[in-house]
């Protein structure tokens, strides 16, 4: 985006909006182009998504009784994934900050990978919320002026606003930058830099507000801790960069062009710190819970050691601790920069570890034991796993298409003059991307 050639900012203003529809169509068609591996990947994701869509439709028809949630554990796998994905979306900002605040040029060139991740992750988290609603047909009750959004009292209404706001900001920035590039114009900083800075603040806010959803509930001591929001952020800034590093590795392989060594170095350096901060916070929380003891620790005891013979979560949380600690050790080794298998492994471990910790490891102990100290355990039902897999598949599908569109435009494959009914010399220019 930064090295825009043939820039003529003043030319063709009226064409600016006229061509936007064509840009979208062009991008959509372009995004569906690819090699065999690409089609297999898309086919698999679509299949999983369809299974999930069917499971969801069945759940809406027959009721949430098909899930294993109950009046005791009333939020579970869906909200766990929602929470994690909000973090993932916020984690995208860890590319934006070096790129724009510290003028890291190499990062600047590929910052769109993080911004697009934010979009995909927010779409997924909103889908998880929709799947958690008993009456999705009434979602319009949230939309003023037809509905009655309980703003500013309900934290959930804040969350609705900040999540959608973050989605719009990122969609706008990405669409603007890509469209300008598509037109062959230089993006005007006045039209996007303020929004980039807004998105940095906003990224922090989405995860803070999501943490406030839980820590604002006085009746649930496991969540009612001031450390929750900072812990959320620390873990988000591990899972986000971990995913982006993996995405960069895959894109590098697919696009066959070398970029991103510098950005990967930056992201690993960020994770080295955030993963330790995250572990430190886990330790402080565990210390306060267990050193003093008392009734308030039942949830933590349930999570880490099991309570009165109930220990559904114990293997989960310990595997999470093991995964994150291993990832931390790997990341601290200097050879992480030279051995890409090690880097990939560390990112995968960290990602899964945080997924457990910020998902089931956070949500379920909030409900076990219940507010009246009853212990009712929870294990996701088949339908919950299907819906979850379906949303993840759709998210990956969306992200793949986004990245393809962006790559096509950034690598000058998709551009204004390449439209079939307006053939120009640009058509014949060799594409840097191997096609099919």
């Amino acid at each position: 985006m930064s090295d825009s050639s043939e820039a003529s900012p003043s030319s063709s203003r009226p064409a600016f909006w006229r061509n936007f529809g064509r840009f979208l169509g062009n991008a959509a068609l372009e995004s569906l182009d690819g090699g065999k591996l690409f089609y297999v990947w898309m086919f698999c994701l679509t299949a999983v998504f369809l299974v999930g869509a069917n499971a969801w439709a069945t759940q809406v028809r027959d009721g949430m009784a098909l899930s294993n949630m109950s009046d005791h554990v009333s939020w579970a796998l869906y909200i766990a994934n929602f929470t994690f994905l909000v973090g993932l979306a916020a984690g995208g900002v860890m590319m934006v900050i070096p790129a724009y605040l510290y003028h890291d040029d190499e990062m600047h060139d590929i910052v769109i990978i993080g911004e697009l991740l934010a979009i995909a992750a927010i779409i997924m988290s909103l889908m998880f919320v929709i799947c958690d609603l008993g009456r999705p047909d009434r979602f319009w009750h949230l939309l003023p002026p037809f509905g009655r959004l309980n703003f500013p009292v309900s934290m959930l209404s804040w969350d609705v606003i900040v999540l959608n706001g973050y989605l719009f900001i990122n969609v706008y920035i990405c669409a603007y930058l890509l469209y300008m590039r598509y037109l062959g114009l230089t993006p005007d900083p006045r039209w996007y830099v303020p929004f980039v800075f807004l998105s940095i603040v906003w990224a922090i806010s989405i995860h803070t507000v999501t943490a406030f959803l839980y820590c604002g509930l006085g009746g649930r001591p496991f969540w009612n801790t001031a450390l929750l929001a900072p812990r959320f952020l620390a873990s988000a800034f591990v899972s986000g960069p971990a995913f982006i590093v993996l995405a960069i590795q895959v894109i590098r392989r697919a696009v066959g062009r070398h970029f991103g060594d510098g950005p990967i170095r930056t992201l690993v350096n960020i994770m080295r710190i955030t993963i330790l901060v995250n572990l430190l916070m886990v330790i402080s929380e565990v210390f306060t819970e267990f050193y003093t003891g008392g009734a308030h620790t039942s949830s933590a005891r349930y999570l880490y050691f099991g309570l009165h013979g109930h220990n559904e979560l114990v293997p989960w949380i310990w595997s999470s601790i093991f995964l994150v600690t291993t990832a931390a050790v790997l990341m601290l080794l200097p050879s992480i920069f030279t051995r890409s298998w090690m880097l990939n492994l560390a990112c995968v471990l960290a990602f899964i570890g945080i997924w457990i910790e910020k998902g089931m490891g956070l949500i379920i102990p909030g409900f076990v034991p219940s507010t009246l100290h009853e212990i009712v355990e929870y294990r996701p039902s088949a339908i919950e796993w299907k819906i979850t897999a379906g949303i993840w598949a759709l998210g990956l599908l969306i992200y793949t298409l986004f990245i393809k569109i962006a790559a096509g435009i950034v690598l000058n494959r998709t551009k204004m003059h390449a439209i079939p009914d307006e053939p120009t010399a640009a058509d014949a220019s060799p594409s840097p991307v191997p096609n099919s």
């Binding site: 869509a53 949430m64 609603l133 009456r135 047909d137 009246l372 998709t414």
Partner: protein, 313 residues
């Protein structure tokens, strides 16, 4: 698209559609068709939701005429879905009334007649044996709920136990109301926290927020045999709740606002329950509050419940 011109009919710029584009079109069409198949259960579900129901406004925005129409529609729907003839009314709160409830733990014997009466009065789902009241068997000498047990099945009362029923405490500062993102639940002027079952989106945030485990969700469409349905129903209380929405104890407002007593109180064989108007200095509940050693659950949370417990002493 730029590369497509190479994979079409072979001639450049001939204008014909490339094979690749056709394949993409076929792929997308097949995908869309499969998607339509996958979400087919939604259409079956939507058949049970009328346009009027979908578009119904929030309770507080309904004019008197709107409300009448809604009540008649709901009666008709109950007839269609459950085969029962019911009357759904909407009695408003009375001026100068604030309801309070007190419970004498010294005489409660844990028979759970209150929970059973609640189940019948409020048209609860039969298979799950739902009720707004949970009765805990507690160890004498301790108020630690962790020692309590809601699933006791020995004859009652056991000598070393006491019994503590818990239901919605109708908090003065109800967290369940604060958290609701769509104002589907609120506190009425007579102190009763209600839910508009036709406005709730089923997010269950209120259930997470309630420290007394007082809310119940309709995980499925309630199953009740036609002849067991209580036909005396209130819009904000015991009418049959739709699938996917939240419900809770309303101090039987369809009864109490008409001068009757809550079903749980009428069913209690030991006289452990006292109900009345907190604003009336001559009410029995005021007498209890003034003469007994009264306490409330989880006072430290500062929610100021209107549900009180006391011991004879």
């Amino acid at each position: 698209m730029s590369s497509d011109s190479n994979s079409g009919c072979g001639k450049e710029d001939c204008g014909c559609v490339s094979r690749r584009t056709v394949m993409k079109g076929v792929g997308v069409t097949l995908g869309a068709a499969a998607f339509a198949r996958a979400i087919a259960p939604l259409t079956e579900w939507a058949q049970n939701i009328s346009a009027d129901e979908f578009l119904q406004k929030h309770y507080k925005e309904l004019s008197l005429i709107d409300l009448k129409v809604v009540l008649r529609r709901l009666e008709k729907e109950t007839k269609e879905h459950y085969g029962a003839d019911v009357t759904i009314s909407d009695t408003k709160p009375q001026e100068g009334v604030k309801f309070g409830y007190a419970l004498n733990l010294s005489v409660c014997n844990g028979c759970r007649k209150c929970a059973e009466a609640c189940h019948l009065e409020n048209n609860h789902d039969r298979p799950s044996n739902q009720s707004y009241i949970r009765v805990f068997e507690m160890q004498k000498g301790s108020m630690d709920m962790e020692q309590g047990n809601a699933h006791y099945d020995k004859p009652v009362p056991q000598p070393d136990k006491f019994y503590m029923p818990v239901q919605c405490q109708q908090c003065e500062h109800p967290p369940c109301v604060d958290v609701c993102p769509v104002e589907a639940t609120w506190k009425e002027p007579d102190g009763i926290v209600v839910v508009d079952y036709n406005w709730c989106i089923g997010c269950r945030y209120c259930e997470a927020a309630c420290p007394y485990h007082a809310r119940r969700f309709n995980w499925t469409k309630p199953v009740i045999p036609k002849e067991e349905i209580n036909p005396d129903q209130g819009y904000l209380s015991n009418r049959i709740r739709p699938q996917g929405t939240m419900e809770k104890c309303t101090f039987c407002l369809h009864r109490t606002r008409n001068g009757r007593l809550p079903a749980c109180l009428e069913a209690c064989p030991t006289g452990a329950r006292v109900f009345g108007n907190l604003l009336d200095p001559n009410s029995e509940i005021r007498w209890v509050l003034e003469h007994k050693r009264v306490f409330i659950l989880k006072e430290d949370l500062g929610l100021k419940p209107q549900f009180f417990y006391f011991f004879d002493s």
